[in-house]
Symmetry: C2
Subunit: 383 residues, 2 copies
């Protein structure tokens, strides 16, 4: 299969590039390095050095004997899509090319404007590239579990059958996200569903929870092939922040009450899920939606897990609640369905103590590179 | 009250300008003439001549002794908002500044891109202008009944209480629109609701049906103060198309089966509704939503009404179904609630025979200016 990957330099894009190449597919990746630029602008660089996309593609090709292709460019420019689609003719496109930081998306007007513009225009350009140049191409889009927010009813997989005053209709599950970034993914979903039903496109939308981990069959080949590891307040995830705080000997910072529950998954499982979605495409005029997570934890549960394992490793981990910079429910109902990908064959890798030990050991190797100033929240939208 | 009107040169923007000035408010209007430009580019000019915004504001000020202010500029540029908000400091903003044509929004990539970009960026800029410079300002946004599409359950006013597996949650009513233009208004609603609940803004979103009519207390003062009347396939509404076809002696073109039901209202009632919404503002952190229509008709019912009145006037009206250029249900359930504005005091002006007669008489005055080539659909998205 010819697979085009948008956002190929990202935390997920890069391991996906190597994974599909290893599976025997022809892989072409595009990135504009906007995450690297924003990381520089906000002093939020990743912990470990990551060669740029072209350099690590070359390195991977040498190590593996495979042939990743890539191109640096801005997908807001439709001419880039036109050029790539006429040259490469993809059978599937994996779309990760979004500004993914919630705090950055609300840092100020310019950052909000950029996030809305980038995320919507890239998705919209992709839809038109498929309509005009490759109507049979299957789009696999990365959404987020954050689109649903934290409703007081069970979260179904993308759709909801509603009975109202004795009549019935099936709708997209109502979405209500907690940041502008997450809201742009709600808008993406609305937009894709419009084009899918109007132009008979094939789209799979993966509602993914936060991902942790650095190890995959391919990243393990060479330390320089690791994906980026952010622990800062802009791109850092909760799990990464706790790992770095444990290693740096500073308290794990729990935002507010710590009752915020989310669905998590291992990087290895993201690759399984994206692979399963790509190999089981949506039909014409179908928007397939899966909830992509393997287990749920509250912030407090994650802090306790990291503390337990860190203490066993002699790190002496403390936990310290701080005021929540975000506007979010800190104590809420959360019950997401996530059976679709299991039915396709997903075999979960859970967040075991062993997994935490190996992540802490990986971070310990870079302990001296940790910049503690990057960790505390600089953007607040809970006034 | 200081009222800022975005899209002041439009079919609704212009009568709204005069209405609020007449009610004693200080009124400032902005427009970039994009509808006039698109009308030129697509040979879709209005039937009657309309002086430009500055000229007709001057004319109205002379006739009325009032003082409309206006400015020509592009609201996608945030600096225009910054300049206007620092100069005028509005208490309320009425936001009509969107590309409103469904066929134009799907004419091709460039038109789709422009529609998405213009509509989302103007709404987003407005939200940030209010956040940064006038957090107490009330936003009155024109949405569309088209956001809901034609679901098989009753359409409530903006919100829906859902009970699912024994638990309850109140959501935005799920939306599913029939064109990209209508979908941009779905995205606007999602975006506004995010900012309302996160930054405690005050927003009223009016889900309006198609509007007909040219006559208001102010437009009746001088023929040159009439709003634009489009009957073409790009900006023309169904009612206007039928009126012009009746006058031109060509058959009324019903798209497909003609069972498409929509909610309609008189231009006079739009002014009443926008006035009521402005004078009954949303509270901090509240998104008020009203369904703005007074009666529902199918396409066939409207054709029959125009035929009946036209025949009485000796016009000899015929009706002719043509293939539907749009992808839409032609025979569907439709039951929208619309009690909120009635409860605030709306007194409907219905589509009576007298109203149809006066509109036909108005069109008859311009019979010689009708260009029949502009009427048949040039954009098709039902393949």
């Amino acid at each position: 299969m010819k697979i085009l990957i948008l956002g190929a330099d990202g935390y997920l894009g890069w391991p996906t590039m190597m994974h599909f190449a290893k599976q025997g597919h022809e892989v072409y990746g595009i990135d504009d390095y906007s995450r690297r630029l924003i990381a520089m602008q906000t002093s939020s660089e990743a912990l470990m050095p990551n060669p740029n996309l072209e350099d690590r593609a070359k390195l991977f090709n040498e190590v593996s004997g495979l042939n990743l292709q890539c191109r640096i460019g801005d997908l807001k420019d439709f001419r880039l899509f036109e050029s790539v689609f006429s040259e490469f003719k993809p059978d599937a496109v994996i779309h990760y090319a979004e500004q993914p930081s919630a705090p950055y998306s609300l840092k100020g007007y310019e950052e909000a404007h950029y996030t809305l513009k980038n995320n919507l225009e890239v998705t919209h350009n992709l839809l038109w590239a498929v309509i005009k140049y490759a109507p049979d191409c299957h789009i696999v889009k990365l959404g987020t579990m954050g689109e649903y927010g934290t409703p007081n009813i069970d979260i179904e997989e993308g759709w909801l059958d509603i009975e109202h005053k004795g009549r019935k209709h099936k709708f997209l599950y109502p979405r209500q996200a907690g940041s502008l970034y997450h809201t742009t993914k709600v808008l993406d979903t609305d937009l894709m569903w419009f084009y899918v039903r109007t132009f008979n496109l094939k789209v799979t939308d993966l509602m993914q929870g936060p991902v942790y981990g650095l190890s995959t069959s391919e990243t393990d080949l060479d330390e320089r092939l690791l994906p980026n590891f952010h622990y800062d307040d802009i791109f850092g995830t909760l799990v990464n922040r706790f790992l770095v705080q444990a290693v740096a000997g500073i308290p794990l910072t729990v935002y507010g009450k710590g009752g915020q529950i989310r669905g998590y998954l291992n990087l290895k499982d993201t690759l399984q899920c994206v692979d399963l979605a790509t190999n089981n495409p949506a039909k014409e005029g179908e928007l397939k939606i899966y909830n992509q997570l393997t287990e749920t934890f509250s912030v407090n549960q994650l802090a306790d897990k990291v503390k337990k394992v860190g203490d066993q490793m002699g790190l002496g981990v403390e936990i310290k609640p701080i005021p929540n910079p975000r506007k979010e429910a800190e104590d809420h109902y959360y019950n997401p369905t996530h059976t679709g990908l299991i039915e396709l064959g997903l075999q979960p890798n859970y967040l075991t103590d062993d997994v935490l030990v190996s992540m802490l050991e990986q971070v310990l190797k870079y302990k001296n590179a940790i910049v503690v100033d990057k960790i505390m929240p600089r953007v607040k939208w809970n006034k």
